[in-house]
């Protein structure tokens, strides 16, 4: 729990609308944070849309949202238990259905 690290939060597919309609955020966060805690921190502290369940339902992201760690699906990296590293890029994307 020593020191802080820098992460990039990227939002697309409409997920950016919940975060001040801004696609790229650079955040300083405590070291040793799990991805699960990071997502809850985003919901509690960073989300500008107050409808929390657009982002988090129960203890995970809502259906239709993908979480990516450095261009890989979070399921390949341990999902919520992944410990965030300095300079990681965490990307939240809402699934698109149009065609």
């Amino acid at each position: 729990m020593s020191g802080s690290i820098s992460v990039t939060l990227e939002l697309s597919g409409g997920a950016e609308l919940m975060f001040a309609n801004t696609r790229l955020h650079t955040l300083e966060i405590p070291a040793d944070l799990t991805l699960q805690s990071f997502l809850l921190y985003l919901a509690d502290e960073k989300m500008t849309d107050k409808r929390r369940d657009l982002f988090i339902q129960g203890d995970t992201v809502r259906p239709g949202m993908l979480v990516l760690i450095n261009d890989a699906d979070w399921e390949l990296e341990g999902e919520g238990e992944y410990v965030i590293q300095d300079r990681d890029v965490i990307h939240l994307i809402s699934s698109l259905h149009g065609g």
């Binding site: 390949l76 994307i93 065609g99």
Partner: protein, 292 residues
């Protein structure tokens, strides 16, 4: 083998000469295309360019499923349908595609895909393209592909200024749509509601045709190599600068309700009409509120 399926005619040589020259395709690849069949579900913003380039390339049999009628608001992105306002899209597509390449066997399905017709409609094809625009149909197509012994599925989507492309059910270990999205979203946006720029959906449709031609034209060895690569999801953003990202996706999930080890969506359940896609896509599952 003496069948005409295993030869090209002189007009075919002339027509396909510019792609026959390409080493990864070549004559054997062109013959594989000619013997192949692909079903394009949805002849809208994705389906229009996908169909143009698939039919242009000489895939032997191309099926088209669409129950809609051409509206003037489609034309900025559904560029096959000039002058077809008010006609069935499949009719507009038939006229256009027959003119483009009379060698291709076109099969027209003037209907929407439903749980009642999906197994029979998809069964005859080597490859499925999901060019539709509602979550309901995306789950229905993927489930049907799984139940038909894992038929490969190239799926794209686009909205506003973004698009995605994924080859689902790749090889034995590739994920299905439900492996990636186990629970359906609620209140999704459509191109009708939220808009889309024509070339954004256009580029995704052309890329579906590209991946389909690569898949159908590949020999066994190249195809095995591609399967080793795992599943990627391509993300495209058009604004303000173009961005392209290729995301490494999870493999097939053991607990997937349709392609997992103990599926609850089986051929029997599906055939009985017990998978309620309407309710499901409103977020309520028939069997299990949490997972379906």
């Amino acid at each position: 083998e003496d069948s005409n399926d295993f030869k090209l005619s002189l007009p075919e040589y002339l027509r396909y000469g510019r792609q026959l020259l390409l080493p990864p395709l070549g004559l054997s690849g062109q013959l594989r295309l000619k013997q192949s069949s692909v079903l394009v579900i949805g002849a809208g913003g994705l389906g229009s360019p996908a169909l143009m380039y698939l039919v242009g390339s000489g895939v032997g049999t191309v099926g088209v499923v669409d129950g809609d009628v051409v509206d003037v608001s489609n034309l900025h992105r559904q560029v096959m349908y000039g002058g077809c306002e008010g006609k069935a899209k499949v009719e507009g597509a038939r006229e256009y595609l027959k003119r483009l390449n009379p060698n291709v066997n076109l099969v027209i399905y003037e209907e929407h895909l439903t749980p009642n017709n999906s197994l029979d409609t998809l069964a005859p094809y080597d490859l499925i393209l999901d060019c539709t625009d509602t979550p309901l149909t995306r789950y229905l197509i993927s489930d049907t592909c799984v139940l038909l012994n894992r038929k490969p599925l190239i799926s794209a989507s686009a909205l506003k200024l973004e698009g995605t492309l994924t080859h689902f059910l790749k090889g034995k270990e590739g994920p299905c749509y439900r492996c990636i999205f186990p629970r359906a979203p609620v209140g999704v946006e459509t191109c009708g509601d939220s808009g889309v720029l024509g070339p954004v959906v256009g580029v995704m449709g052309v890329l579906q045709a590209l991946e389909a031609i690569k898949f159908l034209g590949l020999g066994e060895k190249d195809r095995k190599e591609q399967e080793q690569e795992g599943t990627k999801m391509l993300l495209f953003g058009a604004w303000p600068e173009m961005t392209w990202r290729s995301i490494k996706m999870r493999p097939r999930k053991k607990d997937c309700v349709v392609c997992g080890e103990n599926p609850t969506i089986t051929l029997e359940v599906f055939r009985k009409g017990e998978v309620d896609y309407g309710a499901f896509c409103g977020g309520v599952g028939l069997h299990d509120g949490e997972r379906l």
